[in-house]
């Protein structure tokens, strides 16, 4: 387990947390979606998914965790979670990404020693559209993990402010 002390103070902590974030995403997709995420050979230079799930973190670790993917991936995730056809699950795509984001955030903070009871999660928010930027009042650190869901890119990002 990692520790919240000296949060993201150096590159080794950043790398450790990147690995934990990746592990959290793999766990959630394996258990709840029934799909094993894979690692891309080549990273996308632009983050351009149309659906973004966001969960805020407050307390010992403040920031925002996002899961971003294409609209078709969101529908496929809902379809697999619910055991429905893509057509039947289409309206649940956004809800599914919000819940996936929530579970990735929960699984991630559980991996940081001492953080679980000291960091609260917000209810998820989902943004649709691919042309937006977020701005924080406090400069912090950013960890991004790129993974593949059924060969489609998925971005999992943690932006911290403490």
């Amino acid at each position: 387990m990692s520790s919240p002390q000296g949060v993201l103070a150096d590159d080794s902590t950043l790398e450790t947390w990147r690995n934990l974030l990746s592990q959290a995403a793999h766990e959630v997709f394996s258990m709840m979606v029934g799909v094993e995420l894979t690692t891309p050979d080549q990273l996308e230079t632009e983050c351009n998914g149309e659906v973004t799930g966001m969960v805020g973190l407050a307390g010992a670790l403040c920031g925002m965790l996002t899961v971003r993917c294409t609209k078709s991936s969101a529908v496929e995730i809902a379809s697999r979670m619910l055991g429905l056809s893509a057509e039947e699950a289409a309206v649940q795509g956004m809800d599914a990404i919000g819940e996936v984001c929530n579970m990735v955030a929960g699984a991630f903070k559980a991996k940081i020693n001492g953080l679980e009871d000291k960091c609260m999660l917000s209810v998820p928010t989902v943004i649709t559209g691919d042309n937006y930027a977020t701005h924080s009042l406090i400069v912090g650190n950013r960890i991004e993990v790129q993974l593949l869901f059924q060969n489609q890119p998925m971005w999992i990002t943690l932006e911290t402010r403490s």
């Binding site: 709840m32 619910l82 699984a107 999660l121």
Partner: protein
């Protein structure tokens, strides 16, 4: 096990459906399943209907799961209905608080159908 009337409380409609599917996979004979997207909606349903089992998330808008279970204990007709929490909040503080408020079980998201079965069946038998 006789027919079960279940109330599933979660702000995610996807999660409510998954929990229902897990209950059926666990072999429960569900005669009725009602859904609520927060604790306030769930309290209204409890006042109108009878349930044998309640599964509730913690992080929800309007009324969260801990406030919900606190309120449930004050409703005479709800006393004795087992409440199982299903949540991303798996920290000791949340678990202890939920159990002290009367929750009979605690399942952490993400979960497998088998985990739901392991936590729910003993609660219904007790």
């Amino acid at each position: 096990m006789s027919q079960i009337r279940a109330l599933i409380v979660d702000d995610s409609s996807v999660m409510r459906k998954i929990v229902e599917r897990c209950l059926r996979q666990a072999g429960l004979d569900l005669s009725e399943v009602q859904e609520a997207s927060n604790g306030m909606e769930a309290l209204a349903l409890i006042n109108k209907s009878d349930f044998d089992l309640i599964l509730s998330d913690i992080n929800m808008p309007v009324m969260d799961g801990l406030e919900f279970i606190r309120n449930v204990q004050g409703i005479d007709k709800a006393k004795g209905i087992p409440v199982v929490m299903i949540t991303t909040e798996g920290g000791e503080k949340h678990v202890v608080e939920a159990l002290s408020l009367g929750a009979k079980g605690y399942i952490r998201k993400p979960f497998t159908p088998e985990q739901v079965k392991q936590h729910v069946i003993p609660v219904l038998r007790s």
